[in-house]
Amino acid sequence: MAIKKFAFIVEKLPYKSETSRLALTHAIASQTVEIYLEDGDNVEPVIAFIGDGVLNMLKGQKALDIYGVTSLEMHIKNALLLDLRVLVCKEDLDRYGLTEDDIVMDAEEIGGELTTEVVPYEKIHQEMESADHLMFF
């Protein structure tokens, strides 16, 4: 019986490549990983956005209307809805002059209860330290 913590760290910009999208969809896949594991074993995911990666969190992304592809905004709301922890680096938001008003902070409209945690980089470093495995996107 073990719970293993996986840290999904997103540093890349959205859309140019699939990288950040696959970070979210793989983190969300932790919801169903139990079918492959022994009783009592499970994966505990945490998602953190750092560097340019914080721009994945911007509100009002119209990728679905324009390019027919789910926006990162929608993926992040899905993650919150499913009670995945989503962290964003405060120093990096500051660098771009962005505040909590500019980014996805909750998934209330679809019934989510968890909110985004805006945290100092040090906190994200601690998550990387305490994680069993790192997946850096």
């Binding site: 293993k4 994966v43 996107f137």
Partner: protein, 120 residues
């Protein structure tokens, strides 16, 4: 002997990243380790049947087939990433598995080391 899970999200031909992942897997298997290779995104193309071995392009299918025969190596492509590209069980060569993304997490769960190559 230990277990290494490699996740590769980069494209088959055109990025030497998948060459790196396969060479690393080969070296680990030769040393007696067990290797799981998860192919997501464009890397799912590695499973495609009938890849031609041209000198002007990377050709990895042959090495992968040899590795599968050792019994120490599993290669699995991401089901959704594959289908989005028109690659499903009809399109992959023998020994290549297809699973949803949770398979990668389960493989990582029991791995001693996870080498995640997140894509460009």
């Amino acid at each position: 002997m230990a277990k290494l899970t490699i996740g590769c999200f980069s494209s088959l031909v055109g990025s030497m990243t998948l060459d790196f992942a396969v060479k690393l897997a080969e070296a680990a298997v030769k040393k007696g380790h067990e290797v799981d290779l998860w192919l997501s995104g464009n890397a799912t193309m590695l499973g495609k049947t009938r890849q031609s071995n041209f000198r002007d392009y990377s050709y990895l299918a042959g090495t992968v087939e040899e590795l599968i025969k050792t019994g120490k190596f599993q290669v699995t492509i991401c089901e959704a990433c594959g289908k989005a590209r028109g690659i499903d069980k009809e399109d992959v060569f023998e020994g290549v598995k297809i699973h949803s993304m949770d398979w990668y997490l389960a493989s990582a769960f029991s791995a001693d080391r996870v080498f995640h190559i997140g894509g460009e």
